[in-house]
Symmetry: C2
Subunit: 398 residues, 2 copies
Amino acid sequence: VNRSRGSGEDRRSREDVRLRGFRDRATLEEALAWVDARGVTLGAVEVPLEEAGGRVVAAAVVAAKDMPEVVRAGIDGYAVRAADTVGASPYNPLSLRLELPGAGGAVLVAAGCALPSWADAVLGFDAAQESGSAVEAVAAVAEGAGVEPAGQGMRAGAPALRAGGGLGPRELALLGALGLVRVGVVARPRVGLVVAGPKDAPGECDANGPALRALARRDGGIVEKAEGRDLRAALRLALGGAPDVVLVSGRTGTGPDDEAPLALAECGRLELHGVALRPGGSVGMGVAGGVPVVLLPGDPLACLVAYELVAGRMVRRLAGHPPDLPHARTVAEVARKIVSAVGVVEVCQVRLSAAGVEPLGVAEFGGLGAAVRADGFVVVPAALEGYAPGARVTVHLH
Amino acid sequence: VNRSRGSGEDRRSREDVRLRGFRDRATLEEALAWVDARGVTLGAVEVPLEEAGGRVVAAAVVAAKDMPEVVRAGIDGYAVRAADTVGASPYNPLSLRLELPGAGGAVLVAAGCALPSWADAVLGFDAAQESGSAVEAVAAVAEGAGVEPAGQGMRAGAPALRAGGGLGPRELALLGALGLVRVGVVARPRVGLVVAGPKDAPGECDANGPALRALARRDGGIVEKAEGRDLRAALRLALGGAPDVVLVSGRTGTGPDDEAPLALAECGRLELHGVALRPGGSVGMGVAGGVPVVLLPGDPLACLVAYELVAGRMVRRLAGHPPDLPHARTVAEVARKIVSAVGVVEVCQVRLSAAGVEPLGVAEFGGLGAAVRADGFVVVPAALEGYAPGARVTVHLH
């Protein structure tokens, strides 16, 4: 979908929605298609395992060796031959020679260490009693008891990790156990950030810097804030930093000072401005110097919503993360009617109680105080007027 | 619960479980009570809002001013007096004087900006048409339409954030909107990390460093790895770094090389060693120089489980996070029997399919490959033999 407005004499006026309002909002699907077309997973970099937590695996990892590589003791105890313990009981302790390798012997082993080749079982301390140079077995052990065969955890050549998966503690532990000290991961997207507060509402829109930084980091980005004497200068500075995407917050609406869309059009191309999304409907996007630029509203809650639904998807795609909303979800029953306008995707902050899902209001502004008290949000599709009590809805948990 | 074993001649031998096995494992409840008694939330530090993402609010934040502080335009448009638009329609456009403050006037305003004191409504661009020095209202607006009253988002004096809450994007946005640039947060616990691999299973236990680093970071900690010529030297080095807690991974079992409990007893006091938990049963804890020290198994999966259930709780408590397991949860039906031993808390890796919850095996070792394929884990209480098909269980999602 290329919604760039024609060129020529008509161009500036059509791009400029100031003092007019949005005539022709894109659907959220169109906005997401724009993101999906431009958000291509970045290339791979190698990092030490110690720094790989939270990163995304760039290429499938195959086990280069058996895990474990050799037959190991699975428990602490004495390596023995199982046959030497047949008939052992507390009433019939069988004496084994301590530290004698081979038949009739018992050699101390620790869990995780290589099992001597002559042994085929480990006698646990609960089944043994040491006395001088002998160990008395007070229970029989079966062949293989307490033994961890080579390759039990994973066979050489087996797929260990798939490309695109996240590196959590288990994956890091597995790579370590496979003997790796470095791993190829998707490069972190460089996110240029321009925060443009309105001239006569100082403070308000600076709110978005810390929040956007936290969000982009969560999605795998490295945020570099650009500041300039004005919006245009800051945008040019951000674009000069070789970013993978630029986010501009503020001045995207239809007011007299809403210069972000024009600034983007001057640096490159404004391809889409105004989305049927509430809050967050003044979101815009385009390309400048080959870099995708997403314009986010200045209103803090609208900015958060537009980030989560639109801009965050771009960061997640670049970072190789799953593009959909990253929140944990739950399905629950609506307790109090959720109202929404047809033709607009509404993001409704909700509380979850024993009664079910209750909306906290969907006002475009003033909703931040309520949002902080919300347990999650419900995305109401454009085709629906909302949800009646009793409807089962997906809640994205904050 | 103080399970430290007496002093005197009897002391060393009772602390030393090597070549004997655990005779007397603590319950998981006792281990958690130990953690809860020693894991006290750290003090507060002030940080810039830009760096506060993910931190924990140290003291309740009260709104110092109304949000917004003044009556504002809630939408882009023209500030007007509602009375001047009564009767306006496309068939009866009413002309207002552009940029004339007061009765009969219309002044351009942007959403979020202060509303002129003489105005009581905002005429949106969809209801207005500019022509020269006039604006034609083509629809009537009610008093208060498009206006955001002072304090609509939050009143001065209202509780904005409670102590102990996390600083996510919404909270950061709210603090920014309230005009704050710094916030008091709980200090990050300094987590000393000693990774002690077994002598003759090189590589294996180094796996735990990256995983423990990622886990402790997730729980709010700053990890400082200490390395020394041996376990004792590394532990002393870690304790010298003024940590809030020290984690030692490896050499906690009953094998001949399992010197971690003895090293801790030499530096301070081993208070508990061996917990009825599987995997992870060789976990131990004590205090050295006033610093809590948690001993974690060397086996990678056992180490992860012991961290999640025991050591992580300490890090989370110090960091001011909720102490319970931080994983998202879901409740689902058991599809295939989950087997567990009575008297031991078992952590069972499971997959979630359309059929329900299916166990992936609870082996003490070799389970890492399976754990990576798991969707989550189920904690089976010590009193149960497991769960039969059809039972509803809580799955902690990876």
